[in-house]
Point group: C2
Chain length 286, copies 2
């Protein structure tokens, strides 16, 4: 485990010199099977002689003031064991003080912001979220200097925003987006599922059910479904669960993320739902 930025950069320089491929999986820790599937992707991409790095860092700048930063689940020892078992070469787990120099005349003051793909959906619900994501991911890329970085498709918009950042700022690396990992009943894996106590775990399935319903409608309709009407019926389906409250559903072009008026095969769907106090997201291609 490496905790200092300079220590990680020294390793990165040594690997560049050796010509080693470096596969990187940035995480906020509290690892689950979804994360481990990203680790396997990274290993496959860099080969047995490549290096696989997992960063574990609950990034404060991507949480809003009323979000769950302080109670976000953390268990570094458990994460380290999971990484070791998965064949990870190095865990990078930096401290806040080094990542974001503290207030005062020399405080942290530079942000990376994407201004198009990050505007809707998560960006509308969480106004400073993506600026925090792109900033910390840019930092991590400069620290770890990977040849390839693997992101999960569960955060579809995040992956799109990061890919745009990599293209626009010319980061010398490739982004790979790996499929969403689901529990056997269909719930998308997320560290936040830990919050789902009692019946909330069952009610959380409504995101997956809404996706399946949209896929069924698109497949079976004789005429192309209108997006607004489909949204309304899915909202009713979702809010039939007593603890579920819809934040948004969106149908959009999978590349530009531009909202679609009609839901057809190939249209992408994403949604965010509060289940109790826990905000969950999911998405899929229709």
């Amino acid at each position: 485990m490496v905790t200092s930025v300079s220590g990680m950069q020294q390793l990165a320089r040594r690997w560049a010199r050796a010509g080693s491929k470096v596969g990187f999986v940035p995480t906020m820790g509290y690892l689950h099977a979804g994360h481990l599937s990203l680790v396997r992707r990274a290993r496959k991409a860099v080969g047995v002689r490549g290096k696989v790095i997992v960063s574990i860092y609950v990034n404060p700048t991507q949480f809003g003031p009323r979000e769950d930063f302080s109670r976000y689940p953390r268990d570094l020892r458990r994460d380290a064991n999971l990484c070791r078992a998965a064949g990870v070469d190095v865990i990078f787990a930096p401290r806040d003080e080094e990542m974001y120099p503290k207030p005062g005349a020399l405080a942290f003051s530079t942000y990376v912001a994407e201004g198009a793909l990050s505007q809707g959906m998560e960006g509308r619900s969480r106004p400073t979220h993506f600026r925090g994501v792109t900033t910390v991911v840019a930092k991590l890329f400069n620290i770890v200097q990977p040849t390839i970085a693997v992101f999960g498709a569960k955060d579809y918009q995040q992956a799109a925003v990061v890919q745009r950042m990599v293209r626009d700022l010319n980061f010398p690396l490739q982004i790979m987006v790996a499929p969403t990992h689901r529990e056997t009943d269909g719930l998308a894996m997320s560290s936040r599922n830990k919050y789902l106590e009692g019946d909330l775990r069952r009610q959380a399935l409504v995101l997956w059910h809404a996706i399946q319903e949209a896929q069924r409608v698109v497949k079976e309709s004789t005429e192309t479904p209108n997006a607004a009407r489909l949204k309304s019926s899915l909202k009713r389906l979702i809010e039939a669960e007593p603890a579920a409250r819809l934040d948004y559903i969106e149908f959009f072009d999978p590349e530009t993320l531009k909202p679609a008026r009609q839901a057809t095969r190939g249209t992408h769907m994403a949604l965010a739902v509060f289940v109790g106090r826990t905000r969950l997201i999911d998405n899929a291609r229709l």
Copy 2:
């Protein structure tokens, strides 16, 4: 000369693999002796076996809508000859279409912005200037992947903003700031000096005279000079030249760039003056 981003990144990867040090001098071209002094600094830093790269790119995003982007002087052939004579290994001269993908659904949309050091002085007079600078410099760093980058002290605030960006985003490189190169009469070298026709060239000396006057006052005063009063007297000195109009004078802490109420030894001074239609800047330590 390399004009493609991918071509430059391939060279950078090869050099990293060989363990070569890479010294980088980003410029907007129309090179003068000041630029060439930065090239010598870069060479000295990386040694005879290192690589020295000069980028030549008139970056549109750092010009305001009413500024001199389209008439900024360009002469790539002359620049190439100067670089060759100065022992530069590679000139990187990218095209706009590749640096900033054009409007449309997939247009360029990611910016790097520093929010503290870039607020005053140049940032106040040119509101989007530093966002353009940090964005293009971040791009160039990701493309050229230097071990060291050399900036001129003539753009003092720019050098401070870039250093802050490098610290905040953890770019794996060192910034070197080289002293301002001056004509024998004291005028700071600048590609924009080309605009100074007829008597304007003589009047442009007033920036240097104002700096010298401030240095004299600080040295000779029995009590510490009040910054506001000193500004007023320097403004009178400057605007005694018929074509000169002061944009700003600032006295500030050289590290935090915070305005100083008093001008003492070690305080930094910067100023911007329109001489005719040409906007010139200069700065010095008092």
